[in-house]
Amino acid sequence: DATDDLLQHLAGFKSLTGQFSQQQFPEGGGEAIASEGQFKLLRPDYFAWEITAPDSQLVIATPEYLWQHDRDLETVTRRPIAGTGQTSPLQVLAGDESALREGYRVEEAGPGRFRLVPSGQDAAFRQLEVEFAGNILTSMEILDSLGQRVVVNFTRLVRDAPLNPGDFEFSPPAGADLFYYDE
C-alpha cells in the first residue's frame, strides 16, 4: 500500500544532507515569505535544520533534546524531546517505520508524491506531502494547523554522507539568552 511504497522510498538512506529553499504562505493570502538554508539528517533520531537567509536560525534534534537557536534574537531554548510531543515533518521522514505507520495515514498524491495525515489529535501539522524523483526527496509541502502552507524545495542532496551523532552536538554561544525546559 501507499505506506509501504513511501517506506521503500525512505528506506534507501541512513543519512541525508542538502540545501533547501522555503516559501511560507500566510493563511488568508499575502505574499510568500521566503527563506533558505541547509539541513542534515541521521536516521532515526538526529536532524539539523539551519535557516541562513534572511534569518539566522538553527533547530537541532537529538534523541534527548530539541534545540532552537535564533542568532538574530540571540536566544537558545532546549526542550527534552519527550516533552515536545509534536513531531516535526523532518523527524517524520527520519523516523522509524513503526512511528510512521502508527502516527500517519499515507495516501498516494501523484507520481512519487505521498500525503501524510497525522492520526493523532495534537499533531504539529494538518497535512504533509513529500515528493520524490526516483528515490531522491525533491520537495515537501506542509499544511500547518492554521492553514498556512510551507513549501520546501530540496537541492544538492547527498545520501549516506558520513555523519555521526557528534555532528549534531550543540553548545550555546556566550551571551545568548538560554532557556532549558527541563531545568
Binding site: 499575502g30 535557516i51 536560525q57 535564533d70 538574530d72 534574537l73 516535526s88 523532518l90 501539522f125 498556512q148
Partner: protein, 182 residues
C-alpha cells in the same frame, strides 16, 4: 541621548512624529518574536496585521510548527492553535496572564511597535536618540528601541525589547507595510 526633547523645534518634530504614527491605523509588520517568562520561552516568526483597534498576529515556528493565530481588539483575545480556538477576556492585564499564561501588554504593543507611547496612559523616563524614542517606561514595562528604519514616509522601529518582572520579549521587524493593504 536626552530625556525630553529640549529645543522647541525638536519637541515639535517629536509631536509631529507621534501624530503621524498615531494616525497610522492600518499596517503590517513581519519579523520575529522571542518571548520569555519564568516558565517558558518561545521564538516564532511573526506576521502582525493591524486594522484600527483590531490586531491579528500569525506566529509560527520553523517548518510551520506550533503555528498560532491571535486576534485581539482590546476587550477580547482569540487564540487559535492546533485546531483549538480559545476566546479570552483581556479587558484587564490579569485576565491576559490568567488566560494565556503570558503577561503580554496586548493593548500597548500596537503603539510601542510604532515607536510611540500608548496614549491615555502615562509614560515616564522617555529617552531619545536622534529624535526617535530609544527608551520608555509605561505600566511597569521597560521598553527599549534599538533600531529604526525608513519605510515609505514612516520612520519605524525594527528592533525593540520589552521587559517587566519575569517576562521579556524581543522583536525584530524585517518588513513594515504602513497603510492599508493594496
Amino acid at each position: 541621548c536626552s530625556t525630553i526633547p529640549d529645543s522647541p523645534a525638536v519637541q515639535r518634530n517629536w509631536q509631529q512624529h507621534v501624530a503621524q504614527l498615531s494616525a497610522l491605523q492600518h499596517w503590517q509588520a513581519r519579523g520575529k518574536l522571542a518571548l520569555r517568562s519564568g516558565e517558558q520561552a518561545e521564538t516564532a516568526s511573526l506576521l502582525w496585521r493591524q486594522a484600527g483597534a483590531q490586531s491579528e498576529l500569525q506566529l509560527s515556528g520553523p517548518l510551520g510548527m506550533a503555528s498560532t493565530r491571535v486576534l485581539a481588539d482590546g476587550a477580547r483575545l482569540e487564540v487559535q492553535r492546533g485546531g483549538e480556538l480559545h476566546i479570552l477576556d483581556i479587558s484587564t492585564p490579569e485576565a491576559v496572564r490568567d488566560s494565556t499564561g503570558w503577561d503580554i501588554p496586548v493593548a500597548a504593543l500596537p503603539f510601542w511597535l510604532r515607536g510611540i507611547p500608548q496614549p491615555d496612559t502615562d509614560a515616564t523616563d522617555l529617552r531619545f536618540d536622534k529624535q526617535r524614542l530609544s527608551h520608555l517606561r509605561q505600566d511597569g514595562w521597560l521598553v527599549d528601541f534599538s533600531d529604526y528604519r525608513q519605510f515609505g514616509a514612516f520612520d519605524l522601529p525594527t528592533r525593540l525589547q520589552i521587559q517587566r518582572g519575569d517576562t521579556s520579549a524581543k522583536l525584530l521587524i524585517r518588513d513594515w507595510q504602513p497603510g492599508a493593504p493594496q
